[in-house]
């Protein structure tokens, strides 16, 4: 008799989802699905609002990386107000936005690694759930936990000084920004008392990377083999191919590293990317049009970015990238748990970027905003912590938004997450009649590696608990486990 296992809700990710695993009569996994069951509808209710409200309104999708939505919307509106397509701002305008974005990347990645994922590494996937959380980390490894908390705080302070407040600020406006960085703010971030300064963040970022690399060394089989599969990878890169999370062109490579999207202008993203709707999830499935639904899906996020870029423009991160690349002999890395490795290299890169950018006197300039000839359509793309983020707006003759299309990072990772869940289910649940805590968490670990924000992906609000349901071949639920 076949069975279906449902994991709902999935914990320690943002949002709410559930996993269903279908077993065949022999108890083997025949199918699995990550269902996203929330719906919010930002794309619809922003219609009719004045366009300049979008960066402030749409960022309310999320409280973890609202800066990404804030900046992606602002970049789209830069186009609409005639301020170029990503490189037309004043020096202070672009650099303040970059600083804001780097700060957010830093805090979001740190939150994910230290608060959400490190418990799995410290206590094992099947560790006691009572201690397998951030509180357990504090008790087990106080120094690591304190670093995680303070690093996140530092990132939040960067956001506060650039966006006005730590969550849901207003810094980016169409055509620029509404404040520069005062000398006092700069000095606080650059040379703040220990540990709240830029140099310490670089040092701690290297420490976090070492922590993961040491874990990797002693758990090679798990880290390399867990939910490992080849895929395409998509990311924005700077025009010269450098890793860049603020502006650039769209590039994708296949599992062998061959370019399948060659540095395209994202203003035309809809020529290259299409979204498929499936009737069991509110989250769409994007794919590269020219490759079709079956072959065109891709990964985004830290792993994809490091697979796609040509180099990282800071010395310590570049050195780490070379080591990362050498591990797979220069081929794209398809190992899901290496997302964490890639994420921590990005944390180091952000720390270096913040430290260097803070020394740039352009941040104190006064020419905050530029405007040109108004356009009716604008697309803004940014690399959010979780991957490539698309914001597309069109306005009517009265300056009201008439169309909004958002393809968020987690949506881009929809098919990879489903694939990862499927592989994990097969390795942990084939031939099993009972759902154990460890099995449930293994599926979660696979999802969590992608750091999904299901709230953003469906433009939905909520917590993300987990339910696992086991269903037989007649679609009758024969077992269910929740937490």
């Amino acid at each position: 008799m076949s069975k279906k296992i449902t994991i709902e809700p999935v914990t320690r990710v943002e949002g709410h989802g559930k996993v269903t695993i279908q077993l065949d009569a022999a108890g083997r996994v025949s199918d699995s699905r990550l269902h996203i069951v929330e719906f919010r509808g930002f794309e619809r209710f922003i219609q009719g609002r004045p366009y300049w409200e979008a960066p402030v309104l749409v960022q309310r999708l999320c409280g973890i990386c609202p800066v990404s939505h804030h900046l992606a919307a602002a970049k789209a509106l830069d186009v609409i107000v005639g301020a170029g397509t990503g490189n037309g701002l004043t020096a202070v305008g672009e650099k303040m936005r970059r600083l804001m974005h780097y700060g957010q990347f830093f805090q979001s990645h740190v939150l994910h690694f230290f608060h959400l994922s490190s418990p799995d590494f410290l206590f094992g996937f099947d560790g006691d759930p009572v201690t397998r959380n951030i509180i357990g980390v504090i008790q087990h490894n106080k120094e690591l936990a304190v670093q995680g908390v303070m690093m996140r705080k530092y990132g939040q302070e960067v956001i506060k000084h650039t966006a006005g407040k730590k969550i849901h600020g207003t810094g980016a406006i169409p055509g620029g920004i509404n404040k520069n960085l005062s000398i006092a703010e700069r000095d606080e971030l650059l040379n703040g008392s220990d540990p709240m300064n830029a140099d310490k963040m670089v040092e701690w970022s290297m420490g976090a990377l070492d922590f993961f690399k040491n874990y990797h060394k002693t758990n090679v089989q798990l880290v390399d083999g867990f939910a490992s599969f080849p895929s395409n990878h998509l990311s924005m890169v700077r025009e010269d191919g450098a890793f860049d999370i603020y502006h650039g062109v769209l590039r994708a490579v296949d599992a062998n590293g061959k370019r399948i999207l060659d540095d395209m202008d994202y203003q035309n993203y809809d020529r290259y990317i299409e979204e498929e709707v499936r009737n069991w999830s509110y989250m769409k499935f994007p794919y590269l049009k020219h490759l079709g639904k079956e072959k065109g899906w891709y990964r985004v996020g830290p792993l994809a970015r490091l697979n796609v870029c040509s180099f990282m423009p800071t010395p310590l991160a570049q050195k780490e990238l070379e080591e990362f690349r050498a591990y797979t002999h220069g081929k794209p890395n398809g190992m899901s748990l290496h997302y964490h490795w890639a994420r921590l290299i990005e944390v180091l890169h952000m720390a270096e970027l913040i430290r260097d950018l803070l020394k740039d006197p352009d941040l104190q300039n006064e020419d905050l905003v530029v405007k040109g000839e108004k356009q009716q359509r604008g697309v803004g793309v940014i690399e959010a912590p979780r991957g490539t983020l698309f914001h597309h707006y069109e306005i009517n003759e009265n300056d009201q938004i008439s169309l909004a299309n958002l393809i968020v990072s987690t949506t881009n990772n929809n098919q990879p997450m489903n694939t990862a869940v499927n592989l994990t289910a097969k390795s942990f649940m084939n031939g099993q009649n009972e759902i154990t805590e460890g099995m449930m968490n293994a599926v979660e670990v696979a999802i969590r590696a992608y750091d999904p924000c299901l709230s953003c992906a469906t433009h939905a609000l909520g917590q993300m608990p987990l339910e696992l349901t086991l269903v037989n071949q007649n679609n009758e639920i024969i077992d269910r486990r929740t937490k």
Binding site: R49, P50, W52, P55, G164, I173, P174, D399, Q400
Partner: protein, 231 residues
């Protein structure tokens, strides 16, 4: 020289010129009585009731009540502050006020009053009325979702020859402030900016220039409304 009179507001001894309203006299003596529809230079109407006070155990509006010698005014009492808070709550539930995405946030008098009276969740059910936006003027947007019908725009925004840009339309629950279509199309830039400035909420929005003031530099970011008056 005008005649001087003395009266009390709560524990404060107030010295006023004869002819001043209670609100004006209070302000001149460093006592804050909350207002919303009242606007300096415009004849008070007492329509929002935010300045409700008690004189001889009767509810009055301080913006329309002339100060008189020896009067005993109750203003900052639990009862009156709760009435004011309930008025703020009523305004919130009868409109669609979403502060997080409103560019008047931080400069909005309604929001500032809600903070001052520590409004958390309104005691009344939200009405979520269906209201529209008039964005047809090249200079401003009139967002009916946020309008509190205070008439400040009607009374203060006029053409040089005295014609009104704004007017009431309909009655009862359908009452709304509308912008004259022809005048709205010809509205000079300075007038549009003044209209936004005079609106206590985010109902009149100057086009294409949102969120210019960074957080921390907005009117009510650092100090609550009324603190510029209070001694």
């Amino acid at each position: 020289m005008k005649e001087t009179i003395r009266f009390r507001i709560d524990e404060h001894q107030i010295t006023a010129e004869k002819g001043q309203t209670v609100v004006e006299a209070a302000k001149a003596n460093g006592v804050y009585i909350p207002t919303l529809c009242n606007f300096e230079g415009v004849k008070p109407k007492g329509c929002c009731r935010m300045c409700t006070i008690k004189v001889n155990n009767r509810f009055m509006t301080a913006c329309t009540t002339p100060a008189s010698a020896g009067m005993e005014v109750e203003s900052s009492t639990d009862e009156l502050n709760d009435i004011r808070k309930s008025i703020v709550e009523l305004l919130f539930v009868t409109g669609n006020h979403f502060c997080p995405s409103c560019e008047k946030s931080g400069n909005c008098e309604l929001q500032a009053l809600a903070y001052r009276f520590r409004m958390m969740v309104p005691r009344f059910p939200y009405q979520f009325p269906q209201k529209g936006i008039d964005a047809s003027s090249p200079r401003i947007i009139k967002d009916q979702n946020r309008c509190i019908l205070c008439k400040r725009c009607i009374k203060t925004i006029k053409t040089p020859d005295g014609r009104d840009y704004f007017a009431y339309r309909n009655r009862g629950t359908k009452l709304e402030v509308v912008l004259d279509e022809k005048l709205g199309n010809e509205m000079p830039d300075a007038v549009a900016r003044q209209a936004m400035e005079n609106c206590p909420v985010g109902s009149i929005i100057y086009k294409e220039q949102g969120f210019l003031k960074p957080i921390g530099k907005r009117k009510f970011d650092k100090k609550p409304i009324g603190s510029d008056i209070e001694v």
